[in-house]
């Protein structure tokens, strides 16, 4: 068959395809109930549980129905920004914690205190809740929360003779000083084996800062305080892991083996990691454990990740949305959610109801109680872009911690807070 014929066949096939398949409409049967749209970023398993909870809520509210719509987490910010611009936004949405501040400052989400949030806000964990606390008001409810803790490779500890005899004793050192001592025993450069590996982004570095009690942004959000003495101490300690004690693998350098990959392959003995990788590491058939992050001057601490749910000003049914979201995050439903999906509860009431068989998850629940505050700014990714290069300059020995953090403070203050 000549190429010309082939082309003609392709064109005809395409035209037929268009006639048969070009269909944009999909049949949805309205049943008289008012639809509340809820944009979320859950996965299949989570969505099934969400639908169960929705069904329960609809039983009590027969006039309304909640329609869950999944959007990709990558790009959920862009999608929401553009949709809100033309008024195509949903009634409520689940957004990354760092996005709530932007939405609140742009005046697109409802202040929850007008809906009576004051009465129930004490039931939520403080650190996740604080991510939705902007300019003195609460604009979102945490719906899912994570933090990082210290994962350790049991086999490597055993090989180095560092496993305690008592199986209940903590394996990971309790303070950074002990951590450095243990780290030296675990590091063996001839075997390309290191005690610790870290990524250099601000969120992943927060456990260091928080364990020294150093804030990035002051509590009222008006001043960047990253150049405080505590922060300098924390960063100096971090840098000493790399330069002085040489127990960190340099995983923060571009092109290096990532902490996750190095940990799975037995190159790094300890890494910061979140509960999302527990199942994955178990599948990889490795012998690992989870411990609390070593403490600085303020004891063990960690960062907060996760998402908040918000209600948009465009909705006519803010009260119903609020009712649904508080129902969704109530202690009882959180218990279902967390025990079915192996996730950490955000409702303090659920803490007493949930108990996991997995000791690692229990360790995360413990670590979560010590979580420090995250910096709440209107453009979190810009904050990362401003701070990360300065920290990298310290890690690679080009600047002292005080110089770098002073420069970072100035940049953040000028470009992010006063701007």
């Amino acid at each position: 068959m000549s190429e010309k014929k082939l082309m003609i066949v392709a064109v005809i096939a395409y035209i037929m395809l268009v006639f048969v398949c070009w269909d944009d409409s999909i049949a949805t049967s309205p049943d008289g109930r008012q639809i509340l749209t809820f944009w979320h970023t859950y996965n299949d398993q989570e969505e099934l549980v969400l639908r169960d909870i929705i069904k329960k809520w609809e039983g009590a509210n027969p006039k309304f129905t909640v329609r869950p719509v999944r959007i990709p987490f990558d790009g959920h910010k862009a999608k929401l920004r553009t949709a809100l611009t033309v008024g195509q936004g949903p009634d409520m949405a689940r957004v990354d914690w760092s996005f709530v501040c932007e939405l609140a400052r742009k005046n697109s989400v409802v202040d929850l205190e007008t809906l009576g949030f004051e009465n129930i806000r004490r039931q939520y964990l403080e650190a996740p809740l604080e991510t939705a606390y902007i300019d003195g008001k609460y604009y979102g409810i945490p719906d899912q929360s994570t933090c990082v803790a210290m994962f350790y490779n049991r086999q490597m500890f055993k090989d180095a003779g560092l496993l305690p005899e008592d199986p209940n004793a903590p394996v990971v050192p309790q303070t950074w000083e002990e951590f450095i001592e243990v780290g030296k025993k675990l590091t063996d450069k001839s075997k390309d084996q290191y005690a610790f590996a870290m990524t250099n982004t601000l969120w992943w570095n927060l456990p260091f800062f928080n364990s020294y009690g150093a804030r990035i942004v002051s509590e009222d959000g008006k001043k960047c305080v990253i150049d405080s003495d505590d922060a300098v101490k924390a960063l100096e300690m971090m840098a000493s892991l790399v330069s002085e004690h040489k127990i960190e693998a340099g995983a923060w350098r571009p092109g290096a083996i990532s902490p996750e990959q190095g940990f799975v392959n037995g190159k790094y003995a300890m890494v910061f990691m979140g509960p999302w990788n527990l199942a994955k590491f178990a599948n990889a058939k490795m012998d690992f454990g989870v411990g609390l992050i070593p403490g600085g001057t303020k004891g063990t601490s960690t960062n907060v990740g996760g998402t908040d749910v918000v209600i948009f000003k465009g909705t006519k049914y803010a009260a119903e949305c609020y009712d649904f979201l508080t129902f969704f995050t109530s202690a009882e439903n959180q218990k279902d959610w967390c025990s079915k999906l192996n996730q950490l509860p955000i409702n303090l009431g659920a803490y007493d109801l949930v108990s996991f068989e997995d000791p690692h998850l229990m360790m995360f629940m413990e670590q979560m109680k010590h979580a420090g505050p995250n910096p709440v700014v209107k453009d979190y990714s810009l904050l990362e872009d401003l701070v990360n290069p300065e920290v990298e300059a310290v890690l690679s020995g080009q600047k002292t911690a005080r110089e770098a953090l002073g420069a970072a403070q100035k940049k953040v203050q000028e470009r992010l807070i006063d701007f």
Binding site: S25, T37, R70, P72, F73, D74, W276, A282, N283
Partner: protein, 396 residues
Amino acid sequence: MNSTQAIDHHNKHSVKAQRIVLFVFLIAVMISMSYVISGQLFKFGVMAFSAFVTPEGPDAVTEAGKLMQSMTVVYNGLAVVLTIVLTIFVVKKFLALGQEHRMPFIKRMVLYLALTIGVVVVLFPFFWMLCTAFKPSGQELVISKTNPFDIVPSEPTLDNFRRVLKVDAASKSMAAVDAIEQKKNFGTYFLNSLLVATTAAFLVTFFAAMGAYVFSKKQLPYKQQIFMLLLATMMIPGMMFMVPQFFMVCKMGLFGTKWAMFLPHLASVFGIFMLKQFMDTIPDSLIEAAQIDGASEWQVFTVVIVPLALPIILTLFLLTFLFHWSNFLWQLIVTNFENPLSITLPVGLALFRGQYTSELGLIMSASCFSIVPIAVLFLFAQRYFIEGMTQGAVKE
């Protein structure tokens, strides 16, 4: 025997010895490469086979692993046999040649070995993609301790493919929830993207060809200035247009339709520029000849210009297709996620990525399907690519 003859003789011998050493060295390289490459390929075949024959179940992974283990001999044996056959073939061919043909033969061997290395380097990412698609969750990052280059999984699974195509148990229970959920599968996304990308590519090449013809061959007041103005718009980053374009698309009532996916990109300045540069090389005398024979304007365009510019038109078609096949951000913005018929492939693939974890296996198995149209198009249009380049080079 005088001294020059002796030196000649000596030289001949040393040249011969050099040749033999070189040949043996090349054979050694060839044997090791052939064994490693064919070993991996056969292992991949065995792996895919054992993944296919093991039924879905909780122990499927270990069972498939056992099956693979039992067939170790098969793939290693096949690799050895292939290598031996290849070696015998090459050595026989070498020995059958006369002395004067042996050096060129060695040179050809070097060339082929270098080309083989090139092919391996180019195809390795695709091979990695195929292998990762078969790895169970959690195993994607594990590197084999005995041989770090052995990337074929030892315990394969088809779960990733099942989940992508939504034929596994979890997705079935999800589909039972809702009629709309049923349509949210890879097949729908694939078809949507195919329709969007092909239609866009057809229309863009059509409009760009007509525009380029005018700018290249027709008289138009302020033609040069208008063209410069058009080119100047290329300097504005596309991001700037996104919100206004989205606003317009919504006002037209096209939000969440397939038209919205490509309508703002139909006027392609880049396409006009590319085609115009090519059409400038087509001599005016051809057009005049056609006009003398009584061709209308439309006939000049379709009978003279388009066939001559076909290589470059096909190139533009391919580039536009690629652009719309992978245009994530714009399609994300205009997608109506309540309607699966408006979700395209790049956006659908993003649904697999979570906040912290990326399901590498899922992404890779989905990618296996999504590169198929691109690969087919490239194979088909490859010849025109080269033709387009050489034609441009020798025109008057």
